[in-house]
């Protein structure tokens, strides 16, 4: 499977690493650092340096995750899920005590956002659940209700924060695992149909005014060019004005003159496209495609149900970030604080995505150690 290993020059511990994912990952992170360097006004501070440092720190974390043994993971899955759930509860309690809403817990200098960790945690727990669920029970209520609870509990807590975007991200990962676990297709169709029918009700009764504004702005951005629609309008200007090859490194006017809001976090792709043009944009898309393709490959090569579902769920979680962020900056989804993996400046999303990468590498390692055992579970 590894072409480099075949040459026999490179030492085996290095050669066996999944370079087809690592090289795009390093390239995209490096490119992200370059964009942040420009967004920081042509300097490593304040964005690019911390971006690289975080990547290194979380790479170590991913390596540790990747080296975990299968049995330990199986044992630790539910306790980990519970721990994160307790942390989410903790956020609520601290928020209530401290007054006002907040999304993180503070432990010394480290600020942890439990809702971010919950994304891979839900995927893990769901994969574990369907692994242990006897095949015959798929299609019965017992295949749905416990796993549904696994999703609904954290989502309810995150919605209380309130953080709609992260809730949807958690649900997305969980639902993808459910779908791949083989639950009857018509359940999904029914749920989707109900969801579409319920959308007006959700819009009018469940969303807060600022969330409603996001939706209306998305549907009619010209309506409010200086208000909520301003961000997306400026983002489209940044991307569109870049053209084929962009304005050149450090020459972006939209980002450098502050027209583009959040040029280093949510709208980092617009920052990039302004300076690097369509070529830069296609490069980024290609890198993401390579990483995600590798994720699917890992899932397909998995020997057991747990690994397959876990790998697919982690890939889906990464995909969700990328897709929502890019759809948003190009004006095809409502503006929502979802950062772009490995490019946006920010620790939480870097951590979540690196956990997912770590989990994928872990599964990949297991796959390599014990080739697929055919039809047995």
């Amino acid at each position: 499977m590894n072409t480099i290993a075949a040459r026999g020059i490179v030492p085996e511990p290095i050669a066996r690493q999944p370079w087809e994912m690592l090289i795009p990952l390093l390239l995209i992170t490096g490119f992200g650092g370059l964009v942040l360097y420009s967004a920081g006004g042509g300097s490593m501070q304040p964005f690019a340096m911390s971006h690289f440092i975080r990547f290194l720190v979380f790479s170590v974390m991913a390596a540790i995750i990747a080296s975990m043994p299968r049995d330990a993971v199986r044992v630790l899955t539910y306790p980990a899920y519970l721990a994160v759930l307790v942390m989410l509860l903790g956020v609520e309690i601290v928020g209530q005590v401290g007054g006002g809403s907040q999304r993180w817990l503070e432990a010394g200098p480290i600020r942890i956002q439990p809702s971010e960790i919950m994304k891979p945690a839900v995927v893990l727990a769901m994969a574990r659940f369907y692994e242990t669920l006897p095949a015959g029970m798929i299609g019965s209520w017992r295949s749905l209700v416990p796993s549904g609870m696994l999703i609904v509990l954290p989502i309810s807590l995150v919605l209380l924060q309130p953080d709609l975007g992260t809730s949807v991200a958690i649900a997305f990962g969980g639902v993808v695992v459910m779908f791949l676990a083989g639950l009857p297709l018509w359940w999904f169709l029914l749920a989707g149909g109900t969801g579409i029918a319920a959308m007006p009700l959700i819009y009018f009764f469940a969303l807060r005014p600022y969330q409603q504004a996001r939706v209306t702005t998305f549907l009619d951005p010209e309506n409010d060019p200086l208000g909520a629609g301003y961000h997306i309008a400026q983002s489209k200007i940044a991307i569109g004005s870049g053209g084929l090859f962009g304005k050149g490194f450090n020459n972006g006017t939209q980002s450098h003159l502050n027209y583009l809001p959040e040029p280093h976090t949510d709208f980092v792709f617009a920052s990039m496209a302004e300076e690097w043009g369509l070529v830069g944009g296609l490069f980024v898309l290609t890198m993401y495609a390579l990483i995600l393709r590798w994720g699917w490959k890992v899932a397909n090569e998995s020997q057991d149900r747990f690994c397959a579902l876990l790998a697919a769920g982690a890939t889906a979680t990464i995909f969700f970030y990328i897709a929502i962020n890019l759809l948003m900056v190009m004006g095809m989804a409502p503006a929502k604080g979802i950062p772009l993996p490995w490019m946006s400046h920010g620790g939480s999303s870097m951590m979540t995505n690196m956990i997912c990468i770590g989990l994928l590498m872990m599964v990949n390692r297991w796959n390599r150690m014990a080739p697929r055992r055919g039809l047995t579970v």
Partner: protein, 711 residues
Amino acid sequence: MKIPFLRDGPERTPRMINASILRSSFERRGLLIGAVQGGVGVLLALRLGYLAIAENEKYRLESESNRVNLTLVPPRRGWILDRNGAPLASNRADFRVDLIPERLVDADATIDRLGQLLSLEPARIADIKDKVSTARGFQPVEVASGLGYEQFAALSVRLPDLPGVVPQRGFSRFYPTASSVGHLIGYVGPASAEEYEKDPNPLLITPGYKIGKDGLEKQFEKELRGVPGARRVEVTAGGRIVRDLETREDVQGAPIKLTIDGPLQDYAARRIGLESGSVVVMDCRSGDLLCMASMPSFDPNSFSDGIGGVEYAMLRDDERVPLRNKVLKGLYPPGSTVKPMVSMAFMQAGIDPNETVFCGGGLQVGNRRFGCWNRRGHGSVDMAKGIYQSCDVYFYAMAQRVGMDPIAAMARRCGMGQEFPLPVTSQFFGTVPDPAWKMKKWGREWQAFDTVNATIGQGYMLSSPLQLAVMASRLATGRHVMPRLTLDTKPQGFDKIDFPAEQVEYVRKAMSDVVNGPGTAGRARLPIDGTLMAGKTGTAQVVSLSISNGKSGPWKYRDHGLFIFFAPYDNPRYAGAVVIEHGGGSGSAYPIARDVMTFLFDPAKGLEALAALEAGWGGTAQQRLEARYAAYAAERGASVSRPPRREEEIFDRVEAEARRAATQPEAIADEVIAPRPEANPSGTPPGAAPAPQAAAPAATAPAAPSAEISE
């Protein structure tokens, strides 16, 4: 798709789900999700390409318009020059500060802070707050101009804490002779919302840009404006300027060259002194208006900074109406100054100037007796004596013979009731009454006393100082002199001869005798050897004798003093008119004419006379205006009244008041005027005039009189 309830009964068998089925389901569904993801990827790539390639041009433009800010550089306003090229209105480079109300975060705090930094007076701060609270968003409000560099620098470093404050280098309008040219030149000010709506030129809302608001500044706005320069700068979203991209220089507005003689204008304005009145001097060889002074006046320099509440209140409350241009919008009964003109009408009607009339102090017409101002009578009076002694009986008698129509026609020919083609915002043309006019306007028959009144310039007759000056020029030259105000227009009317030379000679001589002979204005003689001034006095009564004797009592009931003149009398070069409102008689007018003409021929001698007078008055007109303002502000400063929102309100008010004032003499038009004694140092001493006796009973005053005036 295995939807259970859609299946038919018999074929339905419970399906055994095992691991391999799940595995293949996983692979199929994984492929589906992968395909969806790939589809999203393709969609993103297409969208990216669409934005970056197909819509590139649109977005590149929008990005440029974001980045590049085009600031207009207000053009320097064209100068207004006098006939010798000296500026009556110029520009002074200065530092200024404006507020953009829209961008203010905490308006009151910002203005207080500015007031502290720039040490503004409390009244000024109150004015600014008032303006900001009512201004529309885009309209800049001027805080201060003419700042020193230190103040400017002190403010500039604090700008980050003062959003909405715009300091800049600019030019402000400067009028060197200040109040002397106030009415003539007008002033400038920021465009109002209405003006911007009429002319939506972005220049009008550029901070610090001012347009003409009154007088010549308004009239020549198009010529004076110039072409704005432009400065392209790169700005951040917050509006901070990053760097200059390119700058185009402005083109200064064209200068306007007036026929006005700046020093003469200033001299005449100052010579009016404590009186309220106007002086018009024309060059009778070209029709050039050399001087159109109207006092008291306002300081256009301070008006151009924005009219302050205290200053406006002071000007508005002054009964001498400093906001009205009396040269064009003051209408007065011309009094005896019409007598030379009436004499011309007599000669045209065939009356021999040597024919005499006996004046016994009055004339019996029908069952009425009309008095001469000299109750003891002038004895035997010919036309010349009628003019220089201003004998009323001579004119009563001759007018009975020729009738009103030839006199009215002659009055119009001499410029009364006429509008002149001058570049002024508004001029009133007064009234020349005749039988047809009276019937149309009042619905009453023309009476004998109407003719009597008209021949002595009373009754319904009204004219402006400008018209009187034109009359003087036409009498002096015999030609149809048209006044002109700008040097680029052609002198007009000199090809048209109004009067035969011998008649002109005769009237010139008689008018010379008014001053230099046994006339009514002996003290008007020029203190210059060999230069003789000719003139004619006039005293116009404004209220009936039962209210005031015209000499003392309330100011507004006193007689107007008038004087028309030209010099040298035998070869006229200059002609003009002086009108002093409620001056108490012609004695208030002709000394001013004398000094103004002296200044024209011998500036040193003229200034000497003025210096002595100004020492007694307490300084020049401008100094007195400033002192008055200081006193007024000290007294009323605590309660600042609001200045009008729009300059138009000021003009409407001034115009309305001018129209009302013009109707004042009409109240007595329906009665016989008992002429007032003419100032006559060589003749009757003023105190010796006999008490007025046979004034006809006052007819009912017209209910709502309104002078026939126009703009």
